[in-house]
Amino acid sequence: MTLRSVLIANRGEIAVRIIRAAKALGLRTVLAHSIADKESLAAQLADETVEIGPPAAKKSYLNIEAVVNAAKSAKVDAVHPGYGFLAENAEFAEAVTAAGIVFVGPSAEAIRLLGDKVMARQVAALAGVPTVPGSDGRVTDLDAAITIANSIGYPVMIKAAAGGGGRGIRIVGDAEEFARQFPQASSEAAAAFGDGGLYIEKVIERARHVEVQILGDGHDVVHCYERECSLQRRRQKVWEEAPAVGLPDDVRQRLCASAVALGRAVGYSGAGTVEYLYDDATSAFYFIEVNTRIQVEHPVTEMITGIDLVQEMLTIAGGARLSVAQDDIRIQGHAIECRINAEDPHKGFMPAPGTIERLVVPDGEGIRFDTLLFEGYAVPPFYDSLLGKLIVRGADRADCLARLRTALDGLVITGIPTTIPLHAALARDASVADGRTHTRFLEPWLETDFAQLARAREDA
């Protein structure tokens, strides 16, 4: 069936993004929102709104019953979960489906299978996708775990099977530290995720974070090439690019083919992302995890391929086949996304909610700003600090960086501090321009280069 209506079970910029995509397809849009988001841009844009609870996400955006009831009362054909919140919650997907409503995403079984890091790793290995050297599944016995860690070689990571998004990970440097941290990690994982299961992985010291966008319709799976998200702070992505910097073409082909093989192995349906670590020194790539949802950084892929991933998710959910064949998908130019957060980069990234006084968005060829902001909007303190994403495309990476510098200079947000100055500095940094970055580049750079720039600015 073709969908006629969709409930958006999310907030912020991604709710705005989904509403726009759904409207472009002629769908009736219904936004499920908390009391705190009554005045949000998404609430203004949606055809209808349903209030689902108090500001705390636990009582609204994470409340499965409230969201499913909202979808039922609004009589929608489908529910789009966005990212975060309930997007990768198999129980939620099941509840939506049980109510006779289409869940925009893969099946609950696929979410459950790929959401368990240990199971996902086994699926990847079976599909011939290289995995990081590590334990062959869950490890519970400390002595067995130490034997494995010793054979992999330190440093190793202890990861929670139910973790994700950078949470539930510890890095240990030697056997003694390992013996101390392993039991703690298990009880912490049990408390945080309700599952104390752990596994062990080798630490790749200088790695890039590379991920492949896939699209499946239950019959076929294609890839839309890769993104690179190596610039991270506290394991949160800050700046993303497509395609990856300096990836040899033959490696790109193998990387993307491996993601498609993994998607095919599970009959994947919808948009998904297969994440890898890429080792520059050896050109080896290793599977990390699969995200069974649309990602924050999806626009860089859209900018270089011309595919509207969110529209594609909606049409696939409506039962259509993929609108594109693999041969039609080509990389055109280079795109970079900067996450603009309500944080003060000069004060340890202290979050700073508050009211937006002035908003000026740059326009021009190849510039896109996905945001939840408007002048006079009070950014609530209850949710994450993402205010918007500035995405710029250029003919090549150098052209893209030049356009990005201009676009960042033209982006004005006043009333609260933002991370725009961080991005302006990164866009002018020689190491970034040369692509000499990796996942542990940004944090030391903030302590040295960025701190120095800030001091120079204060002196001036």
Partner: protein, 79 residues
């Protein structure tokens, strides 16, 4: 004389370090200026709130997990 303790940040106020823990302070407790009396969760990060003043017989005016504004009175103590 009673002294007001205000939250420096907007967000969600927690009286306990974790859901299973005992509260940082109970009504009636004495506090030192450096004592942590709660946490404020703002944009998914947690910040400690210290009493800032020494006093006795603390009385909280907000409950655990209540939404608060910056500058809102969260407790009072007797000097």
């Amino acid at each position: 004389m009673s002294i007001e303790i205000k939250s420096p940040l907007p967000g969600v106020f927690y009286r306990k370090p974790s859901p299973e823990s005992a509260p940082f302070k109970n009504d009636g407790d004495a506090v030192a200026a450096d004592d942590v009396i709660g946490l404020v969760e703002v944009m998914k990060s947690f910040h400690e709130v210290k009493a800032g003043v020494a006093g006795k017989n603390i009385r909280f005016s907000v409950d655990d997990a209540d939404a608060i504004m910056a500058g809102q009175v969260i407790a009072e103590v007797e000097a």
